[in-house]
Amino acid sequence: MPADTAPLPLKEQFTRGLDAPICLTWELTYACNLACVHCLSSSGRRDPAELTPAEARGIVDHLVDMKVFYVNIGGGEPMLRPDFFDLVSYAVDRRVGVKFSTNGTRLTPGRARQLTALDYLDVQVSMDGATAATNDAVRGEGSFAAARRAMDNLAAAGFGPFKVSVVVTRHNVGQLDALAALAEGYGAQLRLTRLRPSGRAVDTWDALHPTAAQQRMLYDWLVERPGVLTGDSFFHLSALGEPLDGLNLCGAGRVVCLIDPVGDVYACPFVIDRQFLAGNVRAAGGFPAVWRESALFASLREPHSAGACASCGSFDACRGGCMAAKFFTGLPLDGPDPECVHGHGETALAALGDRPRSVPGHSKVGRDGTPVPVPTPVRFRSPARA
């Protein structure tokens, strides 16, 4: 470029998209032995069309070509995939780092030792409350004990600082100090992420999302604790004062995306809906072609107007918030986030009629054929057999 042309600010460059994602989320399977009421992918049953081991390795090869440094692996429960360890090893051997999220139910002492032996691997054990009562109300009976057992196993295997990953809800936001202490007790890092009204949370978000007062408290708590990881997920709270750590922008289809278990590529992990489907890795050209040529991603990378938020002094801080949170609460994508700290989202929500309904997804179904949105008890093999 000519010397007298100032380059675009970095944030602006990111909103226009990069030739390859900075990182991406890859959900390996829709199979899950839990049925969390806020599951963003409505997981439960394995999809018969899930990618084969060879296809999955092909994705890794493409990520190597694109110089994607790491992937966030999730599900479903990724450890339920029979080729889980093969695939993770295949990735890290090629310097595609793996951060994977697990409910911990299959994280036996032996598997904790296997994970410890791998480089470039981070483990995030999900836990949505500091007590079994709080956690199990969301994640299912027995899931707190299972997560603790997984953490015990990682600690015993000498894994090092794994992550305790918490989706912040109305009911656990008062337990942040206890969760931080729990993580610290393991030498682990606490990671907090935002509850989105996606997947099964379409039906539970109203009851679970933090209140406005709790969001203020959460912001203050995070500002005081820059060591707590957030995956950049609370950038809508940056409108409350100094920006939180991170890029503070929506990277959907611009610098991040989701590959789902059947190879569908969505703009981000929180918008598994046809409207945000960019393509499939099984098509000619694979994932790189979807990333570079998708019409959806091209439109996301165009400049967008601030819409209803244009006159708000906080727009530069929050950028209108989270696209997924707006979409699944029925709000226009160029309007305020439903959890807008100035209350504009609540006003907009109050004026709405029906919101998009939850699709059945891969939830387990009851005898009447309808999805079962309630947690199911978990049973475990005894540790002696593990």
Binding site: I22, F69, V256, C268, P269
Partner: protein, 97 residues
């Protein structure tokens, strides 16, 4: 979703010392410069100009960071690039050799 996470605390920068691109760091060229990812501390850092990418990549060829800056960076920009290297030392993108 997760883009930048860890908070390392690397060595204090001294321009008279010899530095290099940390062998645990991989660079990915971008139109603005490069992404730098540290496989050890999992930190992602943005190198915001081509010149900074060239400087960081060739630190290992010079006896000191000051020499590398003098060789590669126009005089009026040297102080700024010195500060940039100090930040990259703090995040362990470059390390003393």
């Amino acid at each position: 979703m997760s883009v930048t996470e860890a908070r390392p605390a690397g060595a204090a920068f001294a321009a008279e010392k010899a530095w290099r691109l940390n062998p645990q760091v991989a660079l990915r060229d971008e139109s603005f410069g490069a992404l730098a990812y540290h496989y050890g501390n999992r930190r992602l850092v943005f190198l915001k100009s081509r010149l900074l990418v060239d400087l960081v990549s060739s630190l290992g060829d010079y006896a000191s960071a000051a020499e590398a800056i003098a060789a590669l960076v126009p005089e009026r920009q040297r102080a700024g690039y010195g500060r940039a290297l100090a930040r990259l030392a703090a995040s362990e993108v470059i390390d003393a050799r």
